[in-house]
Symmetry: C7
Subunit: 94 residues, 7 copies
């Protein structure tokens, strides 16, 4: 299990055929990467230089759209995850 | 439905023929992208590093002009949206 | 009517022949853009990350000089405006 | 023994065959560097310009994944370490 | 008359022959621009993001040296001025 | 004697043969510069823009490892020193 | 006489033959500029955006070493000075 640090969020990227959930897809031409995903784990939030912690605006289970080329891909056994900054997440698909 | 995060705003971009509303158009030559739109959804606002939240200066339904190449395009079924930062919005067309 | 957001200011750019008002012209060679204008509308001001609002130092009707290549041009029907940041404005012509 | 300064963290990089622990591997093609490691030592934390110290979110013994090309490699006798900034660490592998 | 905004300062640039006043000249080779001038008008000062105003350290009439390529040139009728940021001014010639 | 200013630290760089002390060496290929050194003098610390001084985390006599290409070399008679920022220092070798 | 503004410092650069004072010389190959000098005048200090003034850590008469290519050269009659930021000064030679 991955426990992200600070303002980082672990996402499981939705493959092409999963696009029907909420029907959301970034206008992704073939060459662009899929950019909708499920939130798997959230960090404690962003530490400001005043020592405050700004809690994340997303929670585990949310379906989100995010900046196309953001984050670092991680393989955990057969599963593939993407670790992004909260600021890379554009919106929650409700 | 898209719920934008933080200082992000969801816009529905006005196609060329819709330009009569308020008659506003960025001096857009053929090659430039249309830059007026309707506000569809607003985030809670910008978190400052003092933990304050600066609420957005636009609301759902406003017609706005914005920086030409700003934001990320999102397709939701047949509809196309643009998710921008509030700071990319230049003015409200009243 | 354009209502600018935050620290943005709407200007009506002065064409070449209007230069006599205050006689101010940036040393503009033919190729450079005219850079004096009239203030048409002002935003509420700049939000600092302490939640303060710093009101604009210009008001509607002021004639100003501004950084030559600043802002975004907007056409409203037959009229052409420029939306700049307050920080792009150099001085008021009194 | 290395005592890292401020927000720096000393890692012992996991070689390829050690990947089974938690089975975590960055999607590392041959050319990319391994990016999972064990925390060997932690600095006191990040000093903010308000004089606050934000303690590190990792502790000695944690297994972590980190940004692929981050940090400076250090040889201590036969052992090889990597000194990174805490912000280069993506997540703890639990 | 030009009333500069914020931390801006209006200077009248000293032509080559005026260099005897205080005898100050930047080691200006032919190709470099003259960089001593008289202060004609000062803005109210720099607004910090705490809402404080840091008053300018120069006053009308001061002779100053400034960074060679700083500022924007402005023609007011036959006179030529330069609008710089206070931070572009190096020193007052006493 | 060199008295460094602010957050600066004076180091005496360890030549190749001195590497045995603590046996620490950056994985330095021939072309890279040695990066372990002894602390000779420390500044008073970093001034934050709140007027606080963050004292240095190293003291005279510490053996440290630092970023390979950091700092400015200084010759004092026959001795050679390197003046770095405290932030360029990675860790203390204990 | 030059009165530097803010965090600026006026230096009189030491020519090559003056190098014996404190014997300090930056490892200056022929092509590099001399980088030791005497402090001639100091500004009031750096204004932080909290309205505090951080007084300079050097005083008139100090001999200092500074970053090689920093500052702007100024000729005052036959004398040549260099105006640098305090942050460009590395250390005081005691």
């Amino acid at each position: 299990m991955l426990k992200p640090l600070g303002d980082r969020i672990v996402l499981r990227v939705k493959k092409e055929e999963e696009k029907s959930v909420g029907g959301i897809v970034l206008t992704t031409s073939a060459k662009e990467k899929p950019s909708t995903a499920e939130v798997i784990a959230v960090g404690e939030g962003r530490h400001t230089h005043h020592g405050k912690v700004i809690e994340p605006g997303v929670k585990v289970g949310d379906i989100v759209v995010f900046e196309k080329f953001a984050g670092t891909e991680i393989k955990d056994g057969s599963e593939e995850f993407l670790i992004v900054r909260e600021d890379d997440i554009l919106a929650i698909v409700e």
